[in-house]
Symmetry: D2
Subunit: 290 residues, 4 copies
Amino acid sequence: MSWYVEFLTPYEAHMYGLGRIVKSIQTKYQDVKIIDTLEYGRCLFLNGKIQSARLDEFIYHEALIHPALFLHPKPERIFVGGGGEGAILREILKHPTIEKVVMVDIDKEVVELARKYLLSWHRGRFEDPRVKVYYQDARKFLRKEKETFDCIFLDLCDPGENEGPSELLFTKEFYTLIKKRLSENGIVAVQSGSTNLNMLKYFSNVFQTLKAVFPFVLPYQVYVPSFVGPWGFNLASMSALPGSLNQNCIRKKRLKGKLKFYSQEVHNSLFVLPDYLKKNLRKGKVVYNA
Amino acid sequence: MSWYVEFLTPYEAHMYGLGRIVKSIQTKYQDVKIIDTLEYGRCLFLNGKIQSARLDEFIYHEALIHPALFLHPKPERIFVGGGGEGAILREILKHPTIEKVVMVDIDKEVVELARKYLLSWHRGRFEDPRVKVYYQDARKFLRKEKETFDCIFLDLCDPGENEGPSELLFTKEFYTLIKKRLSENGIVAVQSGSTNLNMLKYFSNVFQTLKAVFPFVLPYQVYVPSFVGPWGFNLASMSALPGSLNQNCIRKKRLKGKLKFYSQEVHNSLFVLPDYLKKNLRKGKVVYNA
Amino acid sequence: MSWYVEFLTPYEAHMYGLGRIVKSIQTKYQDVKIIDTLEYGRCLFLNGKIQSARLDEFIYHEALIHPALFLHPKPERIFVGGGGEGAILREILKHPTIEKVVMVDIDKEVVELARKYLLSWHRGRFEDPRVKVYYQDARKFLRKEKETFDCIFLDLCDPGENEGPSELLFTKEFYTLIKKRLSENGIVAVQSGSTNLNMLKYFSNVFQTLKAVFPFVLPYQVYVPSFVGPWGFNLASMSALPGSLNQNCIRKKRLKGKLKFYSQEVHNSLFVLPDYLKKNLRKGKVVYNA
Amino acid sequence: MSWYVEFLTPYEAHMYGLGRIVKSIQTKYQDVKIIDTLEYGRCLFLNGKIQSARLDEFIYHEALIHPALFLHPKPERIFVGGGGEGAILREILKHPTIEKVVMVDIDKEVVELARKYLLSWHRGRFEDPRVKVYYQDARKFLRKEKETFDCIFLDLCDPGENEGPSELLFTKEFYTLIKKRLSENGIVAVQSGSTNLNMLKYFSNVFQTLKAVFPFVLPYQVYVPSFVGPWGFNLASMSALPGSLNQNCIRKKRLKGKLKFYSQEVHNSLFVLPDYLKKNLRKGKVVYNA
C-alpha cells in the first residue's frame, strides 16, 4: 500500500492512504493532482493542498453557497471566481431564481480535468445554458465587466503567500472592485482559510481586509473533516446582513435539489463563533494590499 | 527534525512535528506518551491516540463539561469516569455550586503523570478539598457506591474494540448502572468518539445505546483541531433536556473563572446537527452490550 | 510540497519527496506508478514497491547482468524474464558476443510505459534487431520454447506472497524448467529480494530453492540506495561457477559502452558475504514449490 | 500504532514503527532519543538522526574498528573520540594486545543513558580497568594530551553544518592534531557520513580533508540497513596502508570474542569501491577548515 502526504504547515502533515492517482499534471498555474484516497474517496489537490474530497465536499460547498443565497432576497445574477470543480454551480443552480452564472477560473486545465474526473462534483452543470465559463484572471475580467451581480462567490486558493495564482484576489484593491460589481443588496462570500488555532491569522486578515471595504462583514466557520480542521468564510455587503434566518426564508425559496448539510438551524449555528475566535478576529490588524 | 505519526484509521494518519518526548511509558493498562508537538504544544497520547493538546484542550473540555452543568439547575455532587488529565476538574470547579467531585480513573500512573507534566490542564485542582480521586474500574466503583450524583461525566477512551481499558463502559449495562447513580434531574455527559464522516458508526452506536436506557438523549458535536476532525458527545437524562439555553441561565450561575470557548450562543449551536449526521444517528442500530 | 510513502514492511516505511506523478495506472496485473522524486529522480513503483530509480538503477542493473555475462565464456543467446524497464537490455547489449535477446514480460502496459517514460533506462534498446519482446507468462513461454540460452536473467517482482504476478516464478518447478532451457555452461541470474537483516528469509529461501535444482549456486549482494537496503541475487548453473574473476577476463571481452558500477574488483567483492549472511543462507530450509 | 519519522534530507524521510520511547531528553549538546522500533529493535537517535540500532549495530561497529586494528601490527594504546554507546569499547577489547583505551565524549548524559539503556552495545566494557572515559571536547583534550596512540577512532556525528557538537572535529586543523597524537605506524579511522548517491559530498570532503594532512588515506564503505543507505569511512596514516589483508594476519591475532560481520574476505571487499564512488572521491575539492 502507498500513501500521499500533505504538509499543512512545516510542522504538521496528513497522510492519505492511496487508491489510485487519477491524474497528476503541472498546469501553467499550479500542480494539480486528482487522487483516489481510501478514506475520503476522490480528492483534488492543488499545489499539494486538498481542495475538496468526494466524501464531504458537500459540506464545504453547501456552506460556501447557501448562506449568501438564502440571505439575499432574490439572487438572479451570480459571479463565481475560481471554483473549478463545478460543485459550486451544482449548489447555486438549486436556487430557482438564478438566471445567469458567470464563472471565471484562471486555469482551464483544472476545469477540464474536473469535467472529466469530478462528475459527482459538477453533475453536468457546466452545460446548463445559464452558466458561462471564462478562463481568465478574475481581477482582469471584473475590471472590464460592466454588469453587476447579486451574489459573488470567491472560492480561491488559500490566502497567504506562495499559495498559487490567487494572491492578489485577497486584497483590499480586489474587494473594492468586487464592491463595484455588486448590485444593490449584493453579497460576496469569500473562502477565507483554515480556522485551526495554529493558522488563525489568515482568517482574521481576510476579515479585516473585507472590513476595510465593506460596512457589513459576517464571518463564519464550518467543519470539513477532509480539510483536517475547521474552515472559515466571510460574507460581506454594503447592506446590513441579518445575523439569523428564520424557517420561512428557507421554505419559501423552494429549492430544486436536496441539501445534505445546510438547513435553517445549521445556517444560524455557522455564525456563532466561540469567544477565542471572536477575539482573534478583533485583534487582526493586517489588511492585505495589492 | 523528527515526527510523530498517529494512525487514525488503517488508511489515514496524521504527522506531528516533534519537539520533545516528555514521557513514554507502558502502564498496566495502556501505552502513555506525553509529547511536545511543534504545532499543538504538549499532547497526551494513549495507545497512540491523541487525548488532548495544550493548544486546544479548552475546546474539548469546555464542550464536555459546561452543557451538562448549565442545563442542570443546581449541580452539587459530580462523578467523573476517566479524565485523568484533570482539565475536567478545572472546568467543573468553575461552577460555584459544586460541593463534591468524585473522580475514578483506572490508571493511577496516567493521573500521576498528568499531575507532574500537564499543569496547565489541571491547574492544581487535584488538591481541591472537594475533589476525591480513586484508582479503580469505574464500573466496579459505581456498583458498590450508594451515593447519587447530579452530573456524571464519562471521558473514556474511544468506543470500539481494542481501544484500551474502557470497552465495557460504553455498554447498555453500564449506562443502566449510571442511571441508578443519577439523582433526580441528573445528567450524564458522554464523550462519544469522532463524528468524522468516515468514522460515524461509533457516535451513532453510543447514541443508540444511551437511547436504550434513557428517555432523553441529546447528541452534539464540536470541532477540536488537534483531534483532526469533529468530535461527538451525548447528554442523557431521565428528565427532559431543553434544546436550548437562554442568556439568563448562564449569567445567574456566576462562574468563577473565565471561559474561552463556551458561551450561551455556542451552547445552542453545539446541538444543531447537520442533516447527514441526524440521518446517521437515526440509522444507528447497534446497541453495545457487555 | 507533497510526499509519496512506501511501506517496506508493516512497521517500516520510506517517504519520497514528490516532484511530479508522471503516470499512475492499474494494469491487468499490477498497480504501476512512475513518479519523479526529488532525491532519486524518476522512479518506477509496482504495487507500491520501488523497482528502480533514475539516480542509481545503474547499480542494480549492472550488478544483475555483468557477473553472469562475464563468468560465461561466450554469451550469445540470452533470455530475460521480467525487466520491463529495458535497462537490462541496455546492459546486456554492451557485450559484443550477444546475438539474440528474448525478453518475456507479462505486462505489456509496463513495457509500453517504460518505452515512453523511462528513456534513460532502455536508451532505445527495445528497437535493437537482436531483441525480441513477448508479452506472456515467462513460465508458459519457456514450456513451449525449444531453444536454449547461454544466460537467463530473472528480474521479477519480489519473492514472497501477494507480491504481484510472479509468485510461481520463484519455485523449484520453474527453476527445473529454467535448467532445461540453459545451454551447456549456461548461467541463470536471479533477483532474490532484500538482504536487509529484518527481511532475510526471502533471500535464503530463493537460495535454497535454487540449490534444490542446481549443483552450483553463488549468492551475492549489492547496495542500492533507493531500495533502502542491500539487495540479494543468486547465480546458478549446472557447471562450476568460479568464485572470482581476473582482470583479463574483463579486458578481453571488450565491452561496448561504459560501466559506472561494475568492475573486476567489484565483481569479486560482491560475492564476499559477511558471516551473519552466510549463516542465514545455510539455515534456510524453505524450498518454494508451485 | 504510532511511528517515528526521521528526515534524511529535506526531501527524503524514513518511518520507524514505534514500540516504546525509552528516553527522550535534551542534553546540553543535543537532542537524545532512545526508541524501541519494531523492525530494528532499540535505536539511538541524536538530533533526530539514527546513530545505531540493536539489530545491526554490529555491522557498523565491526566495520569501524577492525580494519584499523587488524592493519596495525600491534595496537596497544587506543583513543576514541565520541562513540558514547560503548559498542566501540566492546569491539576494541576483543583484541588481546590492547593495554589502554581513552574515550572522550563531550556528552556525559549520552554515555550515562547508554550505560543504563544500551547494555547489548557496551556489554559492561565501560568498567574494564583498561578503559578511561573523559567528558570533554576531544579537541581540547588532545591539545593538552602528551601521550600518543596506536589507533584513533573518530565516531562523531555526521560531517556537514548544523549537525551537532562535532563540526570542528572534521577539519584539517583537527586532523593535524590527530597526526601529532598518533604513534609510529598509527592509524586513524574516521566515520565519514553516508555514501548514498544523493549525499556523497560529505564523504569526499572528509576524504580530501584527510588527504590534506596524511599521505595515506584509504576510503571504504559498508552497508548498514538501519542507516537507510551505505556508509563511508576513511583510514589515514603517516605510514603506508596495505590495500589488502591475508588470512594469517587475522588468525595470529587470536581475538577474544566472536565477530558476526567482519572477516578477512570482508575486510578486503570493504575497500573495493565502485567506479562512480572513486570518481566522486577524486572530484572532491572541499577541505574543511576550522
